[in-house]
Amino acid sequence: MNFDINTIVYILEIIVGGLLVGIGVHFVPVGGAPAAMAQATGIGTGTVQLAAGSGLTGLLAAGLMMSVTDNLWLILASGAVGAGIMIGSTMLTGSWIYAYAVGVPFASAKVTYDPITGLSQPPYIAPGTVGHGIPTVCFASGLIGGMMGGLGGAMIYYPLYLINGNAALSAMFAIGIFLVNAVIASWNIQGTIEGFHDPKFKKWPFAFRACAIASILLALASVLITGGA
């Protein structure tokens, strides 16, 4: 293969995509198993699981768009919106369960007032829990995170497809690079995070560095391997 200026641009795009995924995971409000018992604020699942579910739905949308156009912005926007729809419907239907089956008001234990709506949180936290449900700030943060994941997935897929022209191969590599970055970020989060208002969010530079190193290695490998295919 020719290692020219285009290849360097492709590698940079993959790295930026990986970093978007890594940082995006920090925005997704996941409470893990405690949230499934309405014991912690956020969505009741694991970080990687939800980020992968939404980001890869975005990858599907981006892949479809890329089969009909080569306009980078449309592909990226399509990926972000596809992921946003997935994470939005997940959080919305999750809210129904918190609201109408478990019967808890939405409250965050990390802030006294919701930074977006200004609603007070402590009176609505059930005793013995650290918040429950998905308040507006978590919902908005989750959308940002999911859309960054979709954007990142599309950003990884785009150069790979340009290199090898094989949608299946590019998609598999995109899924792999996506998962590596999501897992690294979730180690940094250590299980649960409520979104950009959570004090844990300040730890993102660690994940940024780790994801950058991983993405550089993965970008080099994927550009070389798929280039030879």
Binding site: Q39, Q49, S54, A61, S89, A101, T117, A126, P127
Partner: protein, 301 residues
């Protein structure tokens, strides 16, 4: 947009709704995913139980495996053996259900055997009559997802460039993520802990104190499925159905070749509507439920 492709998108939405519901009920019968932590803990804190315990893995990878297995078998039968699509999809889903049965049973035996020191028994009758219903629900999920992938690749006017198994893998991940974020709350947050006061999250002190008695006799996982079918399953179905339907509807109504920006703007519109709806739920809950009586501070606006 033509009526045929709109009908296909509607069919995909319907299949996704069924897939989401059956996925959640499958995980509830087997106590997979997050609520499994409490089932696992129950025996350790002195509450041996008759609830199925199969945390094979997180729901998204598990369902991705089953959906991708179904799609790979169907794809092979369609392309290499020219089998009719419907039969091939049925065969694929059956293979996936067999995989699921093997995983579920080995997980049940392994987990409960490892808890023998806590007096947790392995109940062979539970294995005999619960495993088939887990497999049946996994069959429905993988059949629906493999069919959605088939429609996306072979039938829609703008065929998807990814091969069927990869699309099934991604939708399997998505349905698992939705099932574990939505339906599991109904099982973990409500059904497992019906012995505590309604309308509050699980107090940390009650961890592991799951309900073990049913209306008659001892509670088992089929009772849990009966309960979760009423709300958790359908809500998960709505979540996954909305994802598949809205995502494909905007590219079916607006041609992605000429009207791509409209399709994207439509997606953004849906997202904004969801934010507003969630905010409405949040405010109406505060109005209806009010603050917790145990709260000692001032109740600000």
């Amino acid at each position: 947009m033509d009526a045929f492709s709109m009908g296909l998108v509607a069919a995909m939405g319907a299949l996704a709704t069924v897939a989401g519901a059956s996925e959640d009920i499958e995980s509830d019968i087997g106590s997979q995913s997050n609520p499994n932590s409490q089932v696992q803990l129950a025996a350790q804190v002195g509450n041996p139980h008759r609830i199925y315990n199969k945390a094979v893995s997180g729901e998204p990878p598990a369902n991705a495996l089953w959906a991708a297995t179904a799609a790979i078998v169907a794809y092979t039968l369609i392309t290499a053996f020219q089998m009719p699509a419907l039969l091939a999809l049925v065969a694929g889903a059956s293979v996936a259900a067999l995989f699921n049965g093997v995983f579920a049973m080995s997980s049940y035996f392994g987990r409960n055997a490892s808890q023998a020191r806590f007096n947790q028994w392995i109940y062979l009758d539970i294995v005999r009559y619960t495993t088939p219903s887990i497999m049946a629900h996994a069959w429905i999920t993988s059949f629906c997802i493999a069919t959605i992938s088939y429609i996306m690749v072979y039938m829609l006017p703008t065929p998807h460039p990814f091969p069927m198994p990869i699309i099934a893998l991604i939708w399997g991940l998505a349905v698992g993520a939705i099932g574990s974020s939505v339906g599991d709350i109904h099982y973990g947050g409500e059904r497992e802990f019906q012995n505590r006061q309604f309308g509050c999250g699980l107090n940390t002190m009650l961890s592991g104190q799951i309900v073990r008695k049913a209306e008659a006799g001892l509670r088992n996982s089929i009772d849990n499925a009966w309960f979760c079918t009423k709300f958790g399953g359908p809500a998960t179905g709505m979540g996954f159905g909305l994802t598949v339907f809205l995502d494909n509807w905007r590219t079916a109504v607006f041609d992605p070749v000429t009207q791509a920006s409209y399709a994207i703007a439509m997606g953004l519109f849906f997202i904004i509507v969801m934010v507003i709806y969630n905010n409405y739920i949040e405010k109406s809950l505060r109005r209806k439920y009010g603050p917790y009586p145990e709260y000692k501070g001032d109740v600000a606006a």
